[in-house]
């Protein structure tokens, strides 16, 4: 009996210890990044261009580039992602036709393709074959491919959570399928879909490997003016300053600052998504 108790104690002690290790490491890591980053973070750091051969000044072009890139990515991925999700949720549902199975499998397979492979596709397809060159356009199209499976999966979940009775009520009033979807299902699912898109976008914001192959630049003297221009971006800026620059130790403060801006951007997007979700959940319950 005693050995039984001892075993249980030991097991749960181990479990508690590993949880403590995981959470502890995560906290240390965040502390390291935040403490060092906040030392550099200032309004001028975010609003100025790099100067003195990238060793001083701010990171405005990288912030601008990432914002531009995210906007374009959303523009491409959103309509297609939501349309796919609507089709899967409202037209296919639980049906198991051959085509539906293929499309579903393709979507989940896409979610597992490594980001560098998307980069290779973007390079082969957009940069070299269609000749968009190394540009915002090539990079954002590549990123929209990468975010598509995420948007589809999460939007479909949002659409499926709309109670069946809502659809039945609309049908009973004589609405067609599309009218039902447009006026009943989508409005109800909008907060969920918005959450999905923000989360997908926050993932795209941090991607480095795909834009490395499709158009991110280490340093540009001026901001991109057209979608055919190359661009600077936050994640690439971190990578380039730490590994490709002449004096990575001298620019360490700038690196910490850039890391913090990127993390804050992503955490901010996540927080907005969570807030939307909880706000509307409460509203729906009321």
């Amino acid at each position: 009996m005693n050995s039984r108790k001892f075993k249980a104690h030991l097991a749960f002690a181990l479990i508690r210890a590993s949880a403590a290790i995981v959470i502890g490491v995560a906290c240390l890591l965040l502390y390291y990044l935040f403490a060092n980053g906040f030392k550099v973070l200032s309004w001028s750091f975010m609003m100025e261009s790099p100067s003195q051969g990238m060793t001083a000044g701010g990171i405005f072009p990288a912030i601008f580039g990432t914002a531009y890139l995210m906007t374009l990515t959303l523009l491409f991925a959103l309509p297609m992602g939501i349309a796919s999700a609507v089709y899967f949720s409202e037209y296919v549902g639980a049906k198991r036709s051959g085509l539906a199975v293929i499309m579903r499998s393709a979507t989940s397979m896409l979610a597992g393709v490594p980001s560098i492979v998307y980069g290779l596709l973007g390079l082969g397809l957009f940069v070299l074959s269609i000749r968009f060159g190394f540009s915002l356009l090539s990079a954002s199209l590549t990123l929209s491919f990468l975010t598509l499976p995420v948007i589809i999966a999460a939007s479909e979940e949002a659409l499926r959570s709309v109670p069946l009775s809502y659809r039945e009520a609309a049908f009973a009033l004589g609405a067609t399928r599309w009218q039902t979807i447009k006026h009943t299902v989508i409005p109800y699912a909008t907060p969920g879909i918005m959450t999905a898109c923000i989360l997908a976008l926050s993932r795209a914001a941090g991607e480095t490997a795909p834009i490395l192959l499709t158009g991110a630049a280490y340093y540009l003297p001026r901001l991109p003016t057209s979608i055919f221009d190359q661009f600077m971006a936050l994640p690439f800026h971190i990578f380039a300053l730490t590994t490709q620059s002449v004096n990575p130790v001298k620019t360490r403060p700038i690196q910490f600052g850039t890391v913090l801006v990127l993390i804050l951007l992503i955490l901010g997007m996540n927080l907005v998504a969570i807030t939307i979700r909880t706000h509307y959940r409460r509203k729906m319950r009321a």
Binding site: A8, A19, I23, Y32, Y87, M109, P114, G124, P235, I266
Partner: protein
């Protein structure tokens, strides 16, 4: 129904059909993108073998592209990927699963409310940030603790990769454990089992297929990870199984060398061929996860 009404309903019907067609076309995009990935990797990767023998590519032990007589053997890169990924999984699996059990079974509900979103936020931190941490601070720690010759080495990559994939594994495994019905636990308690016996002999085995999915998805993420391993492992394509040596992974070689390659050269095609190998490996890992998921769904209570 009047004539007019009939006409209207017919045009409505056509509208409905058009919309359904458009939606179907969008949903087909995933198939199109997946096909294009295979198509382009094949188209750019296969020409490699008109210049290099397949056995030289797959079994060659030297990757040296700058030499006068360049060598394109990918064994060192395969070994690099295998070493870093295996190391990461050995560290991440036990820790993540125990952490998942903690959140699902042990933690106070209030604590669970905090830890779950925290873990999900961690999963959202970009890989380049993890790479930055590995390069600037973790490398010094591992270097000093182990006294390794290379400051950046496979162990450093494995450690940061473990930190990176842990949130993914924890989050999915925790869902799997939580979704085990309460009745299972109650039945075990009724038979006189204590909390640990219930957890280890009833709850954990019941959630096992979900836990396996978590591990497979974590593995898939680890193999395909680029930036973190690139910044952490030192990027020397050495054929070694010494965890304290610098290595280079398949993902890293593509990311680094694609920037300096001449488009259309043998080197260029070889990098696409590596991408193809990488895609096939992750494809099978994800396929395994998918099969498990199907099985899991069909035995859902």
């Amino acid at each position: 129904m009047s004539r007019l009404g009939e006409k209207r309903s017919r045009s409505l019907n056509i509208g409905e059909k058009i919309i359904e067609g458009l939606l179907l076309a969008s949903a087909f995009a995933s198939v199109a993108i997946l096909s294009m990935i295979f198509l382009f990797l094949f188209r750019e990767g296969i020409p490699t073998f008109s210049e290099i023998l397949p056995e030289e590519f797959f079994l060659g032990t030297i990757w040296q592209v700058q030499a006068v007589e360049p060598r394109y053997g990918i064994l060192p890169l395969l070994a690099g990927s295998a070493l870093v990924t295996t190391g990461a999984m050995i560290i991440a699996i036990p820790l993540s699963l125990m952490c998942a059990v903690y959140i699902a079974e042990v933690a106070h509900p209030l604590l669970k409310e905090v830890t779950k979103p925290f873990v999900e936020l961690l999963a959202g931190i970009p890989s380049v940030v993890y790479g930055f941490v590995a390069l600037t601070v973790l490398a010094d720690i591992t270097h000093q603790l182990t006294g390794s010759v290379h400051r950046l080495n496979a162990l450093n990559g494995a450690l940061i990769l473990a930190v990176m994939v842990a949130p993914t594994i924890i989050s999915i495994a925790e869902d799997a454990i939580t979704s085990v019905p309460k009745e299972f636990r109650e039945a075990a308690y009724a038979l006189g089992a204590d909390k640990w016996e219930t957890t280890s002999k009833v709850v954990f085995p019941s959630g096992l297929s979900g836990i396996m999915i978590a591990i497979m998805l974590g593995l898939g993420r680890a193999i395909g990870e680029t930036m973190a391993v690139l910044m952490a492992t030192g990027n020397a394509p050495l054929l070694t199984f010494d965890i304290l040596s610098s290595v280079q992974t398949m993902t890293a070689v593509i990311a680094i060398e694609m920037g300096e390659v001449t488009f259309g050269s043998t080197h260029f095609h070889a990098l696409f061929a590596i991408g193809l190998v990488l895609l096939v490996i992750t494809f099978f890992v994800n396929l395994a996860a998918e099969v498990l998921l199907r099985k899991f769904r069909s035995v859902r209570y």
